[in-house]
Structure formats: C-alpha cells, structure tokens
Amino acid sequence: MARFALRRLLGMVAVLFAVSVLTFLIFNVIPSSDPAHRIAGKAATPNLIAGINKEWGFNDSLPEQYLTMMKKVFGGDLISYFGRENVDERIVEGIPATFSLCIGAAVIWMFFGILFGYLSAVRAGSLLDRALTVVAVAGISIPVFGLAAVFLIYLTYKTEIFPSGEYIEFATSPLQWAEHLILPWVTLAITYVGLYSRVLRSNMLDAMNEDYVRTARAKGLSDRKVMTRHVLRNSLIPIVTLFGLDFGALLGGAILVEGIFNINGIGLYAYESLKNFDLPPVMAIVLFGAFFVVLFNALVDIAYARLDPRIRLGTEAR
C-alpha cells in the first residue's frame, strides 16, 4: 500500500510538472504574437509592454521564462494589468463561493445520479426506466448556459420563485446561502446526473450477470438485499473514480454557472477575465485548476486503493 501511494505521488509530481509546462507553452510560446502584448491586454501601452517584457523575461531562454512564470503564479505577485489587482488574492477570495457551488452540486448529482441509475437498473425495460433514460440523455445533451438562462427567465424574472444568483456567505445566513445557490447547484449538477445515472445503470446491468450475484441469490437473499449489498456496491466503484475526475473538472462548469448567476467566486473571475481577454487571471486559474484536479485525483486513487485491493494490483499489472 505504501509503495502504491509513493508511486502514485511520484507520478503525480511528474504530471504536475508536465501540466505546468503545457500551460506555459499554451500561454507564452505557441501563439504567434507578442506575449507581452497579450498579457498587457486592453491596457496595452508601449511603456507597459516594455515593462512586461522585462519583468516576464520574454527575451530570456524558454526554461528561464518558464521559471519566471511559475514564480509569478505561485509566488503571489501576478498582476492583472487590466484590473490593476493582484490575481492570486482575488482567486483566494473566490474560494468559498466556488467550493460552496461545487460541493453542493456534487451532492445533488451523486444523490440523484445514484438514485436514478439504481431505479432504472432495477426496473430495466420498464416505463420508469425509459422515462429516466430520456431525462438522462437530455441532461447530457443540454448546454449548461442555455439551461441556466431558461431557469433565470422562468424561475427568477417571470415568477420570482428564486433569487437571481449572487453569493451570500454561509456565515451571514445559511438559509439565504442555500436559497441563492439552489438554481446554480441544479444547473451544474444536471449534466452529471444524466451521465452518472447512465453509467451506474449500465454497470449494474453488467454486474447482475456476475457469478457472485447468482451465489447471493442462491443463498436466499432477498432481491433488494442482492441489489443493494452486492450489485449496487460493486457498481459504485467506477462511479467513485469518475467522481474523482469530474469533481476536479467542475471548475470548468463553474466558470459558466458563476458567470451567469453572478456568484462571486473563482469562476466569475475567470468569466470576466475571459470577456476582457485579460490573460494573467486566466493563466493562474487554469494552472491552479489543473493542479487541483491532478492532486485531487491522486488522493482519490490512494484512498481508493486502500478500499479496493484490485485497484492496486490492477495498476501493478499495467
């Protein structure tokens, strides 16, 4: 186990390095225009560009440029020239709102994803199964921002059932916090509810044909017990892996949802920066986001290998 964890962590460090190099290449090397000009954004003046050129060392060798960029992003002196503010500080300020959004959405999607998947697997072929499948496929096919817009139009502007987004701190009022987050949560969760219920359904249908299920039935266990204790439990394993991947990647969806519902988190910061083509914040958010995903996945994998020895052995064989 310790060996697995160590190897996984070493692998993680390698991936983190690769991801940071890739980010560096994307922002500073691949595009065919002056990087200082891009970083200056709309605020560009010849003076500023000259300053950025010097500060970011765009005349140095690539490895040096890479180090300068990493030092800036992780050292906390990354400046948005458009917003005239410190990028890292803004990002830290946005963490509570973004986490509230993502964790809430994750709870909703896991709950309904598992519930719907379970129901349609247990009643495969029934009307309920088909109805749930339709909902799931529609959920997968819907553009997040389109759905958000429809929610805003019909549930906020026309009927005023829900407040129009914005983030109320949990400490201020837990009730308002939740009330303001319901629509964003649901919006963000819907795609995943569809996806997870389908994955779970398919896993469960596969698992139902396994020998251990037959054994369980032969032992005389009730249908429900076979389903929950054996089929569901084993089918949840891939769901947990998927969850590790998707939860980290949720920041991408959060950019859309926070932007639309005006939730003052990291996503909204990214959204506004993108609209203004303000590069430094985007650079930092992309890098932090990717790092978070890689870290989170490594932790999930390790936690998971502890729970299920097959994972350890499987990776060993690979």
């Binding site: 690769a18 994307i26 109805a131 890689v294 996945n297």
Partner: protein, 348 residues
C-alpha cells in the same frame, strides 16, 4: 484530410456484420427518428442562403438598426428607442425578422440562426473528424508498436487527459484568439473558425485514443494478426489492413459521440468568448449575445439553446443506437441504453 476509418470495409469479410448491424439499426425506431431530426437540422442550416436571399432579404451580419419594416401595413422600428429589438414577426412581415432582431444592431435572428448553425455543425463535425483520425493513428501506433512508442504516446495523452477539458480549451482559446497560430508556412488568424476546430479536435483526442489503444492491444494478440505477420505483412499493412477494419465499429460510434461532445464544448467556448470570434456566428455566440437582453427578449437566448439541445440530443441518441447495432455486447459503452434505443430491453 483523407479519413481512413470509415464505413467501407473489406468486402472480403463477407459484409455480413454490417448488414446485420443495419438490420438491427433499422428496427430501432427511436434512433432512426433522431437521425431524421438530425438530418432535418442539417437541411435547416443548409437552406440558410435560400432563406436569406428569398425570404428575409438580408445577410447574417447585415444591420438594420435605424430601419423600419412594414407589418400589417404599419411601419415598425426594427430596434426601438430603448434599444429593444423587434420580436418574432413570423410571416407578418413577409418572412423578414421571422424570429425578430438580435439586439441593438437589428440583425435578422432567423438568418443568423441558420448561418450560426452551419458554423456550429461544421466545427462539431470537422473537429470530431480531426479527433477521430488523429486518435485512430495514435491508438494504432501505440497499440501496435507498444514499448517506448506506446509509453511516449500514452504519457502525452495522460497529461492532456489530466487537464480538465474546459480549462485546457479555454487556455488555448484565449491565447490563440489573441495571437493566432503559425504552423510552418500556414498562418491561421485568431478569428478564423479553424482555431476552435483545432482546439476542440485536439483536446478530445485522449478520450478517443485511449479506448482504441486498449482495443488494439488486445486485437494484436489475435491469430489473424499473427497469420498476417507470418505472411510477411509489414507494420503499415497490419495496422491499416488488419487492425483498422476491426476497429471500425468502435471508431464510428466514438466519432458520433465525439460530434455531440465537441458541439457542446464549442458552444461553451463561444459563449465565453474564446471560441468562434466575430464576424462569424455560432449558436454559442448567439446565446452570449442574447444574454444581455435576457429579461426583455428571452427568446434570443432560448432559441439557440434549444437548437443546440436538439442537435446534440439527436446525435447522442443516434450514436447510442449505432452502438447497439454495431456492437450489441459492447464493453466500451459508457452507459447502457435499453430504454431509449433498444425497445426490446436488456435481458436481465
């Protein structure tokens, strides 16, 4: 770009599995209905010039801010003093402003919807083609050669995979939209629609290449490959003559589902302003444009959203049906689909 992975597979293989698949697909009414819907959408966007020239008498980027149109004999402003665009006129104005105008600029929403759809579909399909062709080549190389070739390809794919798709494409989108791209002598400017095609096609590669590589790895051990090698077939022949045909059903299915995902990604990027750049329009940029008028003219947001939903839905459902037809016992499937695409239900 020649696309090798395709429907025509060696007739020597008796063509039987394909006919069988076709028969299964034909029985699947739901999948066919959604294929019909998809073709309808294609016809709709295909008719854009016809509608623009003969009915709406305008182009997708033509502004009509200060103009008045005649509705039922009365003149109405396309954009009123408060900047509110005219709503849907259906055929009241002879087909002009069928869905109203798109905002302050007073462009014809219907015409833009049709032209925007062309770009959305174009990017979805061409980027999926790019993804599939490159992923197939990478999957074949990695699975066939194994060893360091596989290690190299797989590690690179792993890094791209580790990167959340949205963040990666946003990063690429924002830097390339600002800087454009120079590949050798080829210069792609920042507002070209080839930029989103390349970005979306590129970031999706691992999601197709990984399953293909796995399949190649296991196919490679089969007797027919051994036989072909024994007959003196070179690597290219084994990869493209022997392995590729056996991958074709997987490739077709992944290709369809990639179209759906890529279209969603395109719309999200365009919505954020880092996908399709003006003067080009896609459904994603139209939604972004309509957002400012969400309270006064909600349809400007709802209609393109519904178009995206319908298109992606039709591709997804048809893709599922295709998967059932081509490979009924597929282990590849991300999810089962008995309800919607296999009315007989899954034997439980």
């Amino acid at each position: 770009m020649a696309s090798e992975p395709n429907v025509e597979v060696t007739p020597g293989a008796s063509g039987n599995p394909w006919r069988l698949a076709w028969r299964r697909l034909r029985r699947n009414r739901v999948a066919l209905a959604f294929l019909g819907l998809f073709l309808l959408i294609v016809a709709f966007v295909g008719a854009a010039p016809l509608w623009a020239d003969n009915v709406a008498h305008t182009g997708p980027n033509k502004t009509h801010t200060l103009e008045k149109i005649e509705v039922d004999g009365k003149a109405r402003e396309v954009v009123n003093r408060e900047g509110k665009p005219i709503g849907p006129q259906w055929f009241e104005a002879g087909g002009r402003f069928f869905l109203g105008a798109d905002g302050r600029l007073g462009r014809d929403e219907m015409v833009r919807l049709m032209y925007g759809g062309r770009i959305s579909l174009f990017i979805g399909i061409v980027s999926a083609l790019l993804t599939t062709v490159l992923a197939t080549i990478l999957g074949l190389l990695a699975g066939y050669y194994r060893g360091w070739t596989d290690t190299l390809i797989s590690r690179v794919l792993d890094v791209v995979w580790a990167f959340p798709v949205m963040l990666l494409s946003i990063a690429l989108g924002v830097s390339l939209a600002l800087g454009g791209l120079q590949i050798g002598p080829l210069r792609v400017s920042g507002d070209s629609i080839w930029i989103p095609v390349l970005i979306i096609g590129g970031v999706s590669i691992p999601y197709v290449a990984r399953p293909l590589r796995g399949q190649v790895l296991s196919l490679r051990e089969k007797e027919f490959v051994e036989a072909s090698v024994a007959q003196g077939a070179g690597p290219l022949r084994v990869m493209f003559g022997e392995l590729l045909p056996n991958l074709s059903s997987t490739i077709i299915v992944l290709f369809t589902l990639t179209i759906a995902n890529n279209m969603l990604l395109e719309s999200a990027l365009s919505f954020l302003g880092v996908g399709v750049q003006p003067p080009n329009t896609s459904w994603g940029t139209m939604i972004a444009g309509g957002f400012d008028l969400l309270t006064s003219a909600p349809l400007l947001t709802v209609i393109p959203s519904v178009m995206i939903l319908l298109t992606v839905l039709s591709v997804n459902v048809f893709g599922d049906g295709l998967r059932d037809a081509l490979d009924p016992n597929s282990k590849l499937r991300l999810a089962a689909h008995a309800g919607i695409s296999e009315p007989e239900g899954t034997a439980v």
